[in-house]
């Protein structure tokens, strides 16, 4: 579904943070990308989503090359992204935020209404707060707004970067349950970048571990039963 081949990318022209990373996210699976802080997990997602221009390598979505496609076109291709640091529109209402998720089909009122309704069902708290400024919500609720906004378009593949960082335990379990539901009930392909190794392994199908700038190892989640071994071996 989504494939990254031998990717070299960085923030400055002559300094590659990622040096030959490979990754495949299979359809309907939840692929977890793990690794210590600063190894370049977020950088990988940013590169996939067109915020960074690869110096070498290729990225494929459903067999089509997407490196070089500008960010704003990717949502129409069925690829969505929830960045590590929340990107909501702080001074707009919750409802406006969610509706903007439907920017690509903004003239289809019917569909907008239906999708909005779905999201309010998913996150009842957001219906209560729909008139409030998004910037005034708590961190967890802002995450929900972002998730709801992302789900407006029915993306096939969702990239999620540390969705539970800074959330209370209860809330973060909620988020993981939701990610699992998205895969199990709606058949979405999910790429999850996380520091919460235990939680991520609970729901993942396939796991990649990165070390500074490159793949360390990978395998189906079953091979990661012994955490210690998985992380200290190799």
């Amino acid at each position: 579904m989504l494939e990254v081949r031998d990717l070299y990318v960085g923030y400055y022209r002559d300094l590659n943070i990622l040096q030959g990373v490979n990754m495949v996210a299979r359809e309907g699976q939840l692929t977890a990308i793990l690794g210590a802080n600063g190894v370049g997990k977020s950088t990988l997602l940013k590169a996939i989503y067109g915020f960074l221009k690869p110096n070498a390598g290729a990225i494929y979505l459903k067999g089509e090359r997407i490196d070089g496609v500008p960010t704003y076109r990717l949502i129409q291709k069925g690829l969505a992204y929830i960045p590590q640091h929340t990107g909501i529109f702080r001074w707009m209402s919750v409802e406006e935020n969610i509706l903007l998720g439907g920017w690509t089909f903004r003239n289809d009122k019917q569909r907008l209404r239906q999708k909005l309704e779905e999201n309010y069902k998913r996150f009842p708290i957001l219906r209560e707060k729909r008139k409030q400024q998004a910037g005034e919500l708590s961190g967890g609720q802002q995450r929900m707004v972002e998730l709801a906004r992302t789900l407006m378009t029915d993306p096939d593949v969702i990239l999620v970067d540390e969705p539970t960082a800074g959330l209370a335990k209860l809330l973060s379990e909620e988020v993981y349950r939701m990610l699992r539901d998205l895969r199990d009930k709606e058949g979405k392909t999910i790429v999850l970048v996380d520091q919460e190794i235990r939680q991520a392994l609970k729901i993942a199908d396939y796991v990649y571990v990165l070390e500074v700038g490159r793949n360390k190892f990978e395998g189906p989640v079953e091979e990661f039963t012994d955490l210690e071994k998985a992380f200290w071996a190799g």
Binding site: P70, T71, I75, F89
Partner: protein, 330 residues
């Protein structure tokens, strides 16, 4: 060598002096509010540009100047057409010039093709100002032009409320028809703009880009297109402000200079990037200027100091509270 064309904003922006009285102060305030709306319109244009493109356009005043000249020449050339069309023409032309400039000179910056983008933005918009000023000087010459007022007032006879063709009387307070129409048209444009910004998809997209550029791209909004739109609209708003004021003030190729410094004052007052802030800032500057000029003890110097008041406030706000009085984005 370059003979400096003697020019002074105050020369053209004169209003008659009266003795200080309650009515006089009230008149000054009304005058200030009416002009303030127009300042606000122009400043909101700059705000739009600043919050979407993250640059200050130093050519903002030149779009104002351009808008005024277009109305002037439209009225001269097409006497038979409805005069309101001249305003539409000014809006279209300034929008188009803004569009072209953004595409050719600013877009490369947004794409990251220019080194030191901050400095580039300052200098290239300054270059545009320089270019447009002398272009108009070449085309129309240095002599002041003034458009006649677009409409006559309907004749109404009353004791408290009455009108002549050119003046509206409210008791002892007089309001000139030119200013009145200018303010009304500006108010209309402002209402249209607010509707556009807060009630249409495109307006929300502009807000979205200004509040979080990356998030806007993630939902599928093309930020580069929004840049172009914001700059063109900003230019158009300045053009509209000029279009309505050319019937009130005399026009020379340099009218844009004090006008743009006023916009700078207002957006800094209003918190760099807030539409409501700019609106309020515009009204404040309009009134302060009007009162300051009207009540200044030495009338001979009052006109000359008119532009100084705003600038002093500006310098103080920049130094003491660079975030402005109200802080939010669009």
């Amino acid at each position: 060598m370059l003979t400096p064309t003697v020019w002074d904003a105050s020369l053209f922006h004169a209003s008659p002096q009266l003795a200080v009285s309650g009515e006089f102060v009230l008149r000054l305030i009304i005058d200030g509010l009416m002009i303030g709306i127009i300042y606000a319109l122009m400043a909101i244009g700059l705000t739009l540009i600043f919050s979407v493109l993250n640059i200050v356009s130093f050519a903002h005043g030149e779009f104002y100047m351009l808008g005024g000249y277009i109305v002037y020449f439209f009225l001269q050339t097409f006497e038979a057409l409805p005069p309101l069309l001249s305003i539409v023409a000014a809006a279209i032309v300034t929008f188009a010039v803004g569009f072209l400039f953004e595409r050719i000179f600013l877009q490369p910056m947004a794409r990251g093709e220019v080194e030191r983008p901050n400095e580039y933005a300052i200098l290239v918009t300054f270059g545009l100002a320089f270019f447009l000023q002398f272009l108009m000087l070449g085309l129309v010459g240095p002599f002041p032009k003034k458009a006649h007022r677009l409409f006559d007032l309907p004749q109404i006879e009353g004791t408290f409320f009455r009108t002549t063709k050119a003046t509206l009387f409210l008791g002892d307070i007089t309001i000139s028809a030119g200013r009145l129409f200018a303010a009304l048209i500006a108010l209309l444009a402002l209402a249209g703009l607010l509707w556009f910004m807060y009630r249409t998809w495109t307006g929300r997209a502009l807000q979205a880009v200004s509040q979080d550029r990356n998030a806007a791209a993630v939902v599928g909004i093309n930020p580069l297109n929004m840049n172009t739109l914001a700059f063109s609209m900003g230019a158009m708003l300045a053009g509209l402000a000029g279009a309505v004021l050319v019937t009130v003030y005399s026009w020379v190729p340099w009218v844009g200079v004090p006008a743009s410094s006023k916009s700078f004052v207002i957006i800094v007052l209003g918190g760099m990037g807030s539409i409501p802030g700019s609106l309020l800032g515009g009204l404040i500057i309009g009134v302060v200027e009007s009162l300051g000029t009207g009540l200044f003890p030495d009338p001979a110097r009052a006109q000359a100091y008119r532009d100084v008041f705003g600038l002093v406030i500006f310098a103080l706000v920049l130094l003491l509270r660079p975030t402005g009085l109200f802080g939010r984005k669009l």
